[in-house]
Amino acid sequence: MYCYRVSGLTVRSDLRLPGLIPLDVVAIPDVTIRAIVVPEALDDVSVTGPNWQRSADRFLLEIPSIGRFLLEAGHSIGYSRSADIGDQDIAIFLAGNVFGILLHQRNHIVLHASAIAVKGKAVLFCGASGAGKSTMAAALGARGYTLVTDDQAAITLDATGMPIVHPDGRFLKLWTRSIEALALGDRKGEAMRDRLEKFYVEPGVASTAPMPVGAVYMLTEDRAPRVAGISRPNLVDGSRLLVANAYRPTLVRRMGQRQAYFQVGAAIAHVAGIFMLTRPLRFSAMDETIAQLEAHWAEVGLTPAAELAESRG
């Protein structure tokens, strides 16, 4: 058995799940992952998607050439693999995709975001796949900032109403072109799948502890009519953007979770701030974007302007 902490939850799995935060032992895990015979369909289906079904407390996902996954009550994930699918191929879907659905099933707030730490607070970068979340976190990591999470950012409100981020793992996940452009070749670990040019990359420093949210940036490309820069949307638009940047927005809608996201959105906007970061996607513009960010952190009080260098690490 393998034990991990993922997005604030303890996990016991019969399969090694690369990239996650390992734990020595877990007596009573929040989530159990094991091989089972996954049914072809659910009874009493209430909501269906193109390749998934949901009933009251069960969720069935099919990835045809990979396997089938059954999530029950937010506590267990059963999987069965398609023919010729090895441990690695099934594990990456369990650790990322399927766990993200489980968080939605548990009614957790989970954003599609990477995050780094600035002065002990998490700065999140939200966006759909390909928006540049991991590359942004990696570029900041190369400048000394601590990695907090990559791809999924589970958020809870503590007793004082402060939003807290729970890390999803301890590695960056990057495509070859980003690894080359950021000169991270010597930190490159194993491929996520043998047939893909996407790799686990050792971050300079990673935090595995929960961390309060300092700021949330929605990543967008500087395509017309948008121009490069940082702007602050109004409260309503900010909350809407938060829903649109949920890990799977369609689940927020179809599971009736919008209200919870609006609530957390309001809390983040109040204590931290939700911003739009519009910038060119090309690597050659990265230095300029990071300079804008660092200036912005001083402006919003995340860093004292004179101590910029100390904020790293």
């Binding site: 193109p50 390749n51 017309a224």
Partner: protein, 308 residues
Amino acid sequence: MRPTVWLTSYPKSGNTWFRALLSNLDPARAEPAAINALDSTDSIASSRGRFDNHMLIESGLLTFDEIDDLRPALYRYLAADSYEGPFDPETLYPVRFVKTHDGYTHTRHGEPIMGGAAAAAGALLFVRDPRDVAASLANYQNFTIDEAIAMMADPSFCFCAHPRVLTNQLRQRLLGWGGYAASWLDQRDVPVHLVRYEEMHAAPLPTLRAALCFAGWSIDDATIERAFAFAAIDELQRQEADTGFGEAPQTEHGKTRFFRRGVAGGWRDELTRAQVKRIEQDHAAMMERLGYAPAIKEDFEHVDQQAG
């Protein structure tokens, strides 16, 4: 449930112009639709964000073929679902138009990637003289005209088939200029209505009216004529100069203009004899099938005058 109609074309064949026209078909509209807010169509069929959101799968962890295996189910689901998601604009259009640059191909298991009859009621196939496409494509791709001609002749050319980087769209097989049109014209799953770019110029009203009629949208002639005025090339160019266009090509060196000339037959003063000849050889059969006649001596008068 609104019927789904594909707006399908090889790139640079009038697809975006048509989308601009559709966005200007609202009888209550007082001024031209903003080119950066064309709300007449859903996001492109190959959008990665929409795939990931609805399939609940990170497509970046799947191979191109594995993604293709899942695309038919996505398109059938979206055609049957009235829900407008965060990647789709809210709309009052009577038809769900979806743009695509995917050739009509099949998965490893023989299923049509576009989902077949259950995913769309029909397809509007836009075609344009390949000699004009070559010049426009060179501008769009930041290619030389010879490189554009080679791309059009390459049946294996794909958009977004880069193994080393995550693109914001899924792989699209273009099949070459002739292969693209043939794949849609020869399939028997979805009814196809052919729209020639040249006819949109020569006979705008009847051409657009026929296309809308095929899609099941009846609209009065005055509104159609006003849409042509609102989406005239000089208006599109004016807006692009003013605000930029989000779909314009982006390169390391900056931005290239999207709305270039917007004319039919521009190749006569943009292509050399050798380039024209090569296109006509590469695509002889499909050019004949679509009614694009080979060049004659008079077509080169402009070039000859310049040379003389």
